[in-house]
Symmetry: D2
Subunit: 328 residues, 4 copies
């Protein structure tokens, strides 16, 4: 390892996700392990421009591995999208001799990093932190596994009520552009139907599916709906539509909302975060830049940031088929 | 104990709540203990009119103490509100020699029971099962404690995100007419402000409170809002109002919804349900009728059903004051 | 309120329990509300003698209401049991003008406080913090409710395995001298038998009970055992005894151990802690001393510390009877 | 798909693990989807020899996806290890026209299946269900992910107490021959040291590590120990050894025990179980036999049962290194 780098900055940006703190801890401790200084940058690119920095040693990250959210906080920054903003940010980093960055976040975070790298040739490694699992170059983003557990636990509770009253519930989960949460949590929660942005089941087939479900003897049903589904109606309109078109359906809606982003990370996300933090720092120390750390085939990998940003994740067709079979 | 009663029916009615299954189990086992037959009545008064009955012995209720919802299901019944409906129901009970009832539910359930008792002099004991804690004659209804834990766990997760982004969240919890859930869970979750039906804080004082909170150095805030609060705006309108009237507030809304009714009951609710079931059956066996079982001063008590239905619970003024001090 | 007191110290001592942090937060914020300074004393009496103090303002206790353990740490102190030790401690308090104390802990903590008060006429109010619920003067100690939930969740998991394999499990829970945890969690977890220090079921009757349980059709059983039960054998000896004396029993042992003391407090414990902290500080400000704050009949009460220390809590006989009926 | 098979039997055997019920549900529903009859075999090979069978249709497996344990129960069978026993079992299957088997369990289960297949040329597909993750041919066995979450949640609670009292805890987790649970949960829980069967850290290096940990400013420590670690002392002897050889260490032991096997499965395990059930049934319908279904590189795979039984899983060396860096 070259270790010519003496000081590394770490920050979180974009929506928070469970496991970000575990990743920060890992970055900080890996730096300590290699005798590299580590500096926490608060509130993402916004804090970078303000020089909102704090040196972090191994002890400073104790007792955060199991905390949701991010101790470094997160924020959006309009100013950083301008060349002037980035110049200020760069100067702030130079002022305290930060020589490389680990940025934890999603697409937007990585895009910012790419531009910054291009303008100042500044070494950057990204860690994919988002519950949506919509980043190319890793089978799991940080927080995805935890969010799935949160969602199935919520739907388990909702099913108690659905079963007791023979009701149909539409449960909306996060996922504006991708249906990974809806599909996986839908299968995990035993949902009768799953509506995702990647597929348009169509309103008529939804009605048919619900009727078939009732004929087959199911007394209650859960339909999991991704925020960004393409069926043409939001979750409340869906309720009205079904009540109008199907007799004797007692329909309810539940929008799970922001709680999906929080909570103590699962063991999976803590381990993933720990591995990613090590890989990110050691990649920088090996002189690498402009990569995103990822998990592929259970191994740590590097994907060029540009690919990570441009690439699209695909919905798992096999799992879609499993979900159909399971609702037999 | 007179034990002239040979067969007791048990049913759940109205909205389900965690602990109902534990109460059913207790009723069934207490009957078995006293060598009294027990019959489960499905879907409340609706199933009673249909004769949807099932004999239950001690083994039939194993492994349900920790399940949310109600294995006897619940339903609303319009027909039971008519004298004809109740006559049919009574005949169905007579047909299988059910001589007394334990009804688990809330106000509506008890009202139905009162009328039924008046018309047919049929022995009835009520068990208060509702998460809202809005029944007079008991400090805790079945499911209230579990719902509080569910709500604070959700808000703990939301706070992770609120803190990470320096945001203000309005979190709507159940409680159309009473603020018990909002007040207790609000204090438990460390909410900065709590809006309940029993008090109208007023929009201006809410703004003042939020501004004071920010000045005091709080970077994020949670406001817990009961469904039925009297501030004059729903939770989404509140968001707009605050964003319009206060600068630099990033406001989000989360409506917790039906998951508050489900989930495995807390130990408190399981113990309470076990005690209430014993008290209900033994009260019937002692020849008592038209009472609701309750918990007062940690002891099992009986309150006339009529009082239970007419009486109003009061919000805990001391706790309101505690909540104000805690948001210092 | 007289408010002649200008500075209050707060500390935790003895075994930690969930809710201690919520109580510290409440003490600190109530002081802030009344414009009284508050000082955190680390590691109980040990830290008091070392002058290990930290001023605490309202913001310093944010985000701890939902944390188990105690941010002020806890320790045992031999030296404080000597007059010399207490003199040093008193001097340290005088040095920084601490005029009154809120001590959070159990019997040992209160005994220390009583002696200290006697020697120096130092105003002290106690808050009962222990999972054992063995303090006279309150129906619930801080942490008891949380520990019960932890125990029933563990036993729910153990029952999955017990049911799958038709096994008998002895589950040991905390409680050296009192059986409150065992009795309540035993009823909550649907245990077939509960062994507590207050009752000696006797080995033969245990065998009879297990055989009766099997005859009645139960395929698996859970026996909850308090650490300090008086049956004459520890939990591993019980296993051997049962396997020797009963045919075809596959017996397992699980000792739940220290996890019972930790974890995020339940809503109940958070609310209780918040109320107790307010009552403790305001009692001091009203000139009271040598009392323990308690919960009786859902209201905040004061019990003379001497009574709290000497008094014995009683096992709930009615609940014992409920547990017997439930194992029908 | 040939679909010449008309009836499939499904059973669970060996230690239970979370996700087994989800796998049973998936097998049953996949059969229903393909119009193949499905029969549940109770208590593994033991029940097979007794003809303890129950036809299962799609509705019979509702509401079990989220339950720990196995509704088909599990048992060990000595008799099945004899040719006579297996002959009886085979006859029982023939009697009801079961033509193929899905067996869910671990090594022992698969060995039984292999012999049975050899003797009667009976089509068998295995699903790896065990929390230990010690089966070759899959990166995750059913229940492993859930057990990891259970363990880290327990250690999170223990850490509350450890931190409050500046203590050292030895926490024993399951894993007689393999350290997968200890290593992953150890990293997830932020353990300072992890002792596994695959590595012998040595007693002296353990002492050194603990001392280094203390010098580095850590006030409390968690050491995770797999049941089968090779350090030469059990977890209680370790406590004594450390207390004898290191000054001022307050050491505690916690043996997590059987609760690690139970509880509602994580979303990961539910999805995995659903996928495995589909793959198992469809493999049989395609005429395949003697394979184990597995997850490799996020895809469903088939590994010859013989390899699955003989192969050894390897501890993840990269993760061991991560754990060392994390304890900096």
């Amino acid at each position: 390892m070259s270790k010519s780098i003496k000081k590394i900055g770490v920050m979180t940006s974009g929506g928070d996700s469970p496991g970000m703190n575990a990743a920060i801890r890992s970055v900080v401790r890996t730096c300590a392990y290699h005798n590299v200084e580590c500096v926490g940058i608060y509130r993402g690119y916004e804090g970078m421009m303000e020089g909102d920095f704090k040196p972090m040693d191994a002890r400073s990250v104790k007792d955060i591995i199991n905390k949701g959210g991010t101790v470094l906080k997160s924020a959006r920054s309009k100013e950083f999208r301008t060349p002037e903003g980035r110049k200020i940010a760069h100067q702030k980093l130079m002022d305290v001799n930060i020589e490389a960055l680990v940025v934890i976040g999603g697409d937007g975070t990585f895009n910012g990093g790419l531009v910054f790298n291009k303008e100042f040739d500044f070494p950057i490694i990204g860690i994919p932190g988002t519950i949506d699992n919509d980043i190319f170059g890793t089978t799991h983003t940080l927080g995805f596994d935890t969010a799935l557990n949160t969602v199935v636990e919520c739907i388990d509770k909702i099913r108690d009520t659905a079963s007791s009253h023979n009701r149909l519930f539409f449960v909306e989960v996060m996922g504006r552009d991708v249906g990974h949460i809806a599909l996986n949590a839908g299968v995990g929660a035993g949902a009768e139907e799953i509506l995702i942005p990647e597929e348009n089941l169509g309103l008529e087939r939804l009605l048919e599916s619900l009727q078939r479900s009732k004929r087959s003897g199911k007394s209650s049903s859960i339909v999991v709906v991704a925020e960004g589904d393409k069926i043409g109606k939001n979750v409340f309109e869906l309720k009205d539509y079904v009540e109008t078109n199907l007799d004797e359906y007692d329909v309810r809606v539940s929008v799970l909302g922001h709680m999906q982003r929080g909570g103590p990370p699962s063991c999976f996300d803590r381990v993933l975060a720990s591995r990613m933090g090590v890989k990110a720092v050691e990649s920088l120390l090996e002189g690498k830049s402009n990569y995103m750390v990822g998990l592929i085939n259970n191994k740590m990998t590097l994907t060029p940031l540009e690919q990570a940003v441009k690439g699209k994740t695909q919905i798992d067709r096999e799992l879609l088929r499993v979900s159909e079979i399971m609702s037999t």
